[in-house]
């Protein structure tokens, strides 16, 4: 996929209009930084890997964008793309939501998995896509993550998972909750085989995803300013007697508390991944 495909572009006329009404048209030729309000030239923003050059805000990346900045060009081969949601609980409005999201994103679920190389090192990779019901984990998501670990185990490849999720998916009830146990068990079995598992936490990495396979990685990298924690903000606010301290549960706070290995700007992540894979890869063209 090309970088041009990242952002839906308006026509030239719309671009002109955008300059007149910058706030009203944030995703055209110009993009407004949601954090500092700076108006950024979209092309420049893309070149900067969707990081604001004024305040370093890291824009959320859709799964194709994330793959683009993470794996070697053209190396990604998707697995299990044919898995799709079944509304077993007959949860109200769930079918319609899924249909709408699939039509809009071209995705069957908020977890995209496959094989790729990073700096020449073969990996099995999973990338969460926040557009799809806030990257929430239901049965399909959990199955894909489990198969990803099993693929890594079968082929003796390291696993990288890029997280961007609000947690377990409510619409699949207890089936969603059990994906936490299922994926954690898969991570455990994978880990017992002496294979490396790397997690990247992006904004947000929360709740049922954070409190399951995500926290079980050997190495955890976080993008700056990502919200990382167990309780959603609504629940967290109810639980706090005092006002939250500044930076509470953001990447840097999590690093200070020993919960992530490092906080890295987007541009530095790939180089670090290559070093980690060099340390932890088995088999493959570069393996031990």
């Amino acid at each position: 996929m090309s970088l041009d495909g990242w952002i839906h572009r308006k026509s030239k006329a719309a671009g002109k209009a955008a300059r007149k009404h910058l706030d009203a048209l944030p995703d055209g030729l110009w993009t407004k930084c949601p954090k500092c309000g700076e108006i950024l030239f979209s092309k420049e923003l893309e070149k900067n890997l969707m990081v604001c050059n004024k305040c370093s805000y890291h824009f959320k990346l859709a799964s194709p964008q994330r793959l683009e900045v993470t794996v070697d060009d053209g190396s990604f081969v998707e697995m299990d793309a044919g898995l799709s949601t079944v509304n077993t609980l007959e949860f109200p409005q769930y079918d319609a939501k899924i249909q709408k999201l699939t039509a809009a994103s071209g995705l069957n679920d908020g977890m995209v998995t496959g094989t790729a190389t990073i700096g020449g090192y073969p990996v099995v990779i999973g990338v969460a896509d926040f557009r799809f019901l806030a990257g929430s984990m239901g049965s399909v998501y959990g199955e894909k993550v489990t198969r990803l670990f099993e693929k890594g185990l079968a082929e003796k490849l390291p696993v990288l998972i890029v997280n961007c999720s609000g947690g377990a998916r409510m619409q699949e009830g207890l089936l969603s909750l059990m994906q936490m146990a299922k994926t954690s068990a898969a991570a455990g079995k994978f880990g017992e085989a002496g294979l490396m598992y790397i997690a990247l936490f992006t904004d947000p990495t929360m709740a049922g995803v954070h409190a399951s396979f995500a926290m079980l990685a050997d190495v955890i990298i976080a993008e700056p300013g990502a919200l990382i924690g167990l309780a959603g903000q609504r629940v967290a606010a109810q639980a706090q007697v005092m006002k939250e301290p500044p930076g509470y549960r953001l990447s840097e706070w999590q690093q200070d508390h020993g919960m992530v290995d490092m906080v890295l700007p987007r541009r530095e992540i790939k180089d670090t991944l290559v070093k980690l894979l060099a340390a932890g890869s088995h088999g493959g063209s570069h393996g031990a």
């Binding site: 044919g82 079944v86 199955e143 377990a168 409510m170 146990a181 898969a186 399951s212 639980a239 509470y248």
Partner: protein, 327 residues
């Protein structure tokens, strides 16, 4: 203990009061009214059967949270002998929202671990309303590894609204504690039996609920999110926590649903009118189920045990699959 009565229990409570009154009068007056009493009791039991045959998922949520429902320590006292409680995670603190220790089931040593709620306000605060902090889950894991070291089975009793998610819990890695427990439990080389006895509150419950057998009491609930929370978040329920009964129905949080979706192995019956009306009776059912499953599991080799446990959780989930070119 102060008796609490749910709205749908009120007709039952009225009959209970009448029966008690009649018994008192007949004793005072020395007149035999046993026929009247028996009839009233029959009437009451019919009423209970009628009410309990039509419980909604929300009614069951209220029963699972019933202030008079027996808690883990009530079961431990009744089911096991010589409970020796062990404390602390050896890392930071002891967590009173989880209890655990050695106990004897018909003379055989087991490790028993359970969420623990409090009865009165003071006790509730002491038990943090049954919500565990990371140190609770880490204590539980320490005890599970101890059981594994000595080759003893593990029995966990689940009854928690949710994990604690206060500042301190997040600060000490509550997510890590939950995740690690689920992973480590999937690898344990001894039998693990889980009994969901009240509220199976999301990850906070699951952190001690990965086992070879998952049993669930008739009126227990097990959910990915409390119905109130779900109703408050989703526009389907107008983001109104008062729509919790609808959310409870949509979330399918009852034991029947869990069994239907192959997420639990068996429903443990409760005495007529719910566990809170008869602790001894409730414990008897729980003990019978645990003993029977334990006897089965003790015949399974360690290798098979761990393999089956993995496969058990591996198959959880429902999805469709079509073959793709790149699949």
């Amino acid at each position: 203990m102060a008796l609490s009565v749910l709205d749908f229990e009120k007709p039952i409570a009225e009959l209970d009061a009448n029966i008690a009154e009649l018994k008192r009068i007949s004793e005072e007056e020395g007149i035999d009214r046993s026929a009247d009493i028996e009839e009233l009791e029959r009437h009451r039991d019919d009423l209970i059967a009628q009410i309990f045959a039509n419980l909604t998922p929300w009614d069951k949520t209220l029963l699972a949270r019933h202030p008079n429902r027996p808690y883990s320590l009530d079961y431990i006292r009744t089911i096991f002998d010589d409970f020796v409680e062990l404390h602390g995670d050896r890392l930071f603190a002891d967590d009173n929202a989880i209890v655990g220790g050695w106990a004897f089931l018909d003379g055989n040593p087991v490790m028993v671990i359970g969420n623990q709620k409090g009865r009165d306000l003071k006790e509730r605060q002491f038990r943090n309303f049954g919500s565990s902090k990371p140190e609770g889950y880490r204590k539980a894991l320490r005890l599970m590894h101890m059981a594994e070291k000595f080759g003893r089975p593990i029995i966990t009793l689940v009854d928690t609204p949710a994990a604690d998610c206060s500042f301190g819990a997040e600060e000490r890695g509550i997510s890590e504690a939950i995740a690690r427990n689920m992973m480590e439990m999937s690898l344990l080389k001894v039998p693990v039996i889980v009994a969901v006895l009240g509220e199976g509150g999301s990850g906070g419950a699951l952190a001690i609920a990965v086992g070879d057998r998952i049993l669930m009491q008739e009126n227990a609930v097990y959910s990915v999110i409390p119905p109130e929370g779900c109703a408050a978040i989703l526009s389907e329920f107008q983001r109104d926590p008062a729509r919790a009964p609808d959310a409870a129905a949509a979330l399918k949080i009852t034991a029947e649903h869990a069994l239907e979706h192959k997420l639990i192995d068996e429903i443990i019956p409760e005495p007529v009118g719910g566990a809170h009306r008869n602790y001894e009776g409730a414990a008897k059912f729980v003990k019978e189920a645990i003993s029977r499953h334990l006897a089965e599991l003790e015949k399974v080799s360690t290798k098979k045990l761990v393999e089956h446990r993995y496969n058990k959780f591996r198959q959880m989930g429902v999805y469709a699959e079509t073959q793709c070119e790149n699949g």
